[in-house]
């Protein structure tokens, strides 16, 4: 929750309905992105390093995609997710493969954190036949249903009612699986947001609505699109808990995720989490972010989620520089190999375009 412009990480297991007391800070979110208070405790070492590794994978993947794009090796547009790694990994790290995740036009962080292989992602970016969508999806539709990552959705807000339907399905099939549904600040002004969350709340469905508030819907600042101060407070109108969280602090995100996931698994219904974060890159490929003030960028970049977490791991003695560097190097190699695989993989046949309009059966 925001108070006096600072972030306080919630430590209790209780949920609070957002009550509008968050208005004292800058309406854009973090008034001054000060050093996170980092009140949460680190998890055991395996998980602590696992989350680090997952964040670094996203970062290095997205950085590589950017250069491949500049080199003209991948087609289309890109909507990059680096800078938002703590949101994806913090939310998804503890999910089971049988849980579901519904993503957006900026899906790489979510997909990788949910377990879609970096190789199949890279091959899809290269529009190769062995991509995760066999070349029919592209950057905005990556996913892999076998690990619970449904094809990402590039219509803002439209994944929300779909996630509600998946949650209904989880309930009807008598599983205790949950759905994590990501969207941006902009999506919260869509009708689909209202209809979807209202329905999920009404039927107590196991879905966690995760708004990654990166302060801008494309080039438009959040404060130019809504009169209220936080998106979390919208939860009150659906009768569900809403919570604003420092989205660049993975431990804060993970703690909020645990509360929301447990609540959903217990059959107590949905939660709306608003994760305050910031894009490193522009909205899409050609966006130089002229709309973002320099000082705002500097302040947020100083709070780079990976840097923050890396320092935390080192300061607490959970990991040594050598250990972390070894992880970094291993990820570099993995991304290199994914690129090599993608370069060497076959293009789809042009006439493959005529397949899969209707279900052809089986599992690929």
């Amino acid at each position: 929750m925001m108070a006096n412009g600072k972030i306080k990480n919630k430590r209790t297991a209780e949920h609070s309905h957002s009550d509008g007391n968050n208005s004292s800070g800058n309406r854009a979110g973090l008034a001054k992105p000060e050093k996170s208070q980092l009140l949460t405790t680190l998890p055991e070492k395996r998980k602590a390093l696992g989350m680090y590794e997952a964040m670094v994978l996203i970062r290095k993947y997205e950085e590589r995609i950017y250069f491949l794009f500049l080199e003209g090796r991948v087609s289309g547009s890109i909507h990059q997710s680096h800078g938002q790694e703590a949101c994806a990994v913090g939310m998804l790290y503890d999910l089971r493969p049988s849980d579901y995740m519904a993503s957006t036009h900026r899906p790489a962080s979510h997909d990788l954190a949910k377990g879609v292989s970096v190789e199949s992602m890279m091959c899809e970016m290269y529009a190769k036949s062995n991509g995760c969508c066999h070349g029919k999806g592209g950057a905005m539709h990556t996913g892999d249903i076998s690990v619970g990552a449904i094809p990402a959705n590039a219509i803002v807000g439209s994944n929300i009612p779909i996630a509600v339907g998946i949650a209904l399905s989880c309930k009807y099939r008598k599983t205790d699986n949950v759905v994590v549904c990501f969207f941006g600040d902009g999506a919260s002004n869509e009708g689909a947001f209202h209809e979807g969350i209202n329905g999920a709340a009404l039927w107590n469905l196991p879905v966690i609505f995760v708004c990654e508030n990166n302060l801008y819907g494309a080039s438009t600042p959040v404060k130019a699109t809504m009169k209220i101060d936080t998106i979390a407070e919208r939860a009150a109108s659906y009768g569900i808990p809403g919570e604003r969280v420092d989205g660049n602090d993975i431990l804060a995100v993970n703690a909020a995720a645990s509360r929301a996931i447990e609540r959903a698994r217990r059959g107590e219904g949905p939660t709306l989490l608003e994760l305050m974060t910031y894009r490193i890159a522009g909205h899409s490929r050609s966006d130089a972010c002229a709309y973002r003030p320099d000082e705002e960028e500097a302040a947020w970049f100083a709070r780079d989620p990976i840097k923050l977490y890396r320092n935390r791991l080192l300061d607490s003695g959970v990991a040594s520089e050598t250990e972390l560097s070894a992880i970094d190097a291993a990820i570099d190699e993995r991304v290199d190999k994914a690129v090599e695989l993608a370069e060497a993989s076959p293009d789809p046949l042009p006439e493959d375009a005529l397949k899969n309009v209707y279900w052809e059966g089986g599992v690929l």
């Binding site: 995760c132 029919k136 439209s158 209904l168 399905s169 099939r173 209707y358 279900w359």
Partner: protein, 338 residues
């Protein structure tokens, strides 16, 4: 064999499929008759609650995006939802879910995700004004990834709806309000009952039916217009014009072969629909025949369709806009003189 209305046939199809497959459930506005509810705007889902309870007959808020989106999500993950939108016109509220989501999900995933959902949508002009009246087939036959069906008889309603529920793709079911034949009578409604076999049967998509045989003109007509074409055919027969009436039953996939076979005999094609003239589904059929089978034709193709205006309220105007039996007869006469 039992005699029943289209409403009863649809109800029986849903009932039997829900019994047969626990993945099947219904969702929509006012679909449950629990607690004094309607059991569907046209009573199609009446009685289901008693058998299947709240969960499987899910009344929703008035939220079309939610209804369609939930159907997509549930279908992608192992369920077989049957969604109900009360009036086809409301489909526009959830066009994104139907066209960008339901229709494209299988394709965008490279064939790894299926969306076995049914969307039921009543169509047809019934003096309710322009927003509860439209015949929308043309919009949706345009969309790759959707299947579009339009059962006009009780037999077809049950058999085709069962096929739709078992299909692994999104299927849009257009039902005509004047053909339901339930207890709630519409003005101008046909009090139709038809024979329906006892027990389970399905009707494959893409198989048209020749409703009446004839040598002179092939009339392809769906839903209410099929009945008007049949009526016209009786009158035209008296003048010596023998019409063959074909009910396509499903628009996607479309059974061109049956139409072509008929044209070999008649050499004259008329298409009748309540959908608008401009880019109504008949435009595609017409273009297909012109493109592939023009040498079978002895005369230009004739399309008889609703005029390109919103459906007006006043009964006299509405009757003028929607093809009438008289308009079909006139058109047939002029086609014979070509």
């Amino acid at each position: 064999m039992a005699q029943m209305s289209v409403v009863e046939a649809l109800n029986q199809a849903i009932m039997e499929e829900m019994q047969r497959d626990e993945r099947v459930f219904c969702l929509g506005e006012d679909i449950s008759d629990a607690d004094g509810g309607y059991g569907g705007a046209f009573a199609v889902t009446r009685g289901l609650h008693d058998k299947f309870g709240y969960d499987r007959v899910l009344n929703t808020p008035i939220s079309e995006i939610l209804i369609a989106g939930m159907a997509v999500g549930a279908a992608m993950t192992g369920m077989r939802p049957i969604a109900d939108l009360q009036y086809g016109d409301f489909l526009f509220c959830c066009m994104d879910q139907m066209v960008n989501q339901a229709a494209k999900m299988c394709y965008m995933s490279g064939g790894r995700v299926s969306v076995p959902m049914v969307m039921r949508a009543p169509v047809g002009a019934t003096t309710r004004g322009a927003q509860h009246a439209q015949s929308l087939e043309g919009y949706f036959t345009h969309v790759p990834g959707l299947k579009v069906i339009c059962p006009a008889t009780a037999y077809d309603a049950k058999g085709l709806l069962k096929t739709a529920i078992r299909d692994d793709n999104p299927v849009l079911v257009f039902e005509h309000k004047l053909l339901y034949g339930g207890k709630r009578k519409e003005r101008e409604a046909l009090s139709m009952v038809g024979e329906v076999p006892d027990g389970d049967y399905t009707i494959p998509f893409g198989e048209a039916v020749v409703r009446r045989e004839g040598q002179d003109i092939t009339i392809v007509a769906n839903l209410m217009m099929m009945y008007r074409a049949m009526e016209a055919a009786v009158e035209l027969e008296k003048e010596g014009i023998r019409c063959e009436v074909i009910d396509p039953r499903t628009l996607v996939p479309f059974d061109y072969a049956t139409v072509v076979e008929s044209l070999r005999k008649t050499g004259r094609l008329m298409i009748v629909h309540e959908d608008n003239y401009r880019n109504g589904w008949g435009a595609q059929v017409s273009a297909y025949i012109a493109e592939h089978e023009i040498y079978l034709l002895d005369a230009p193709i004739k399309r008889v369709a609703a005029y390109d205006v919103p459906v007006p309220f006043a009964p006299v105007m509405e009757k003028y806009v929607v093809p009438s039996t008289e308009r079909i007869i006139e058109s047939a006469r002029s086609l014979m003189n070509e």
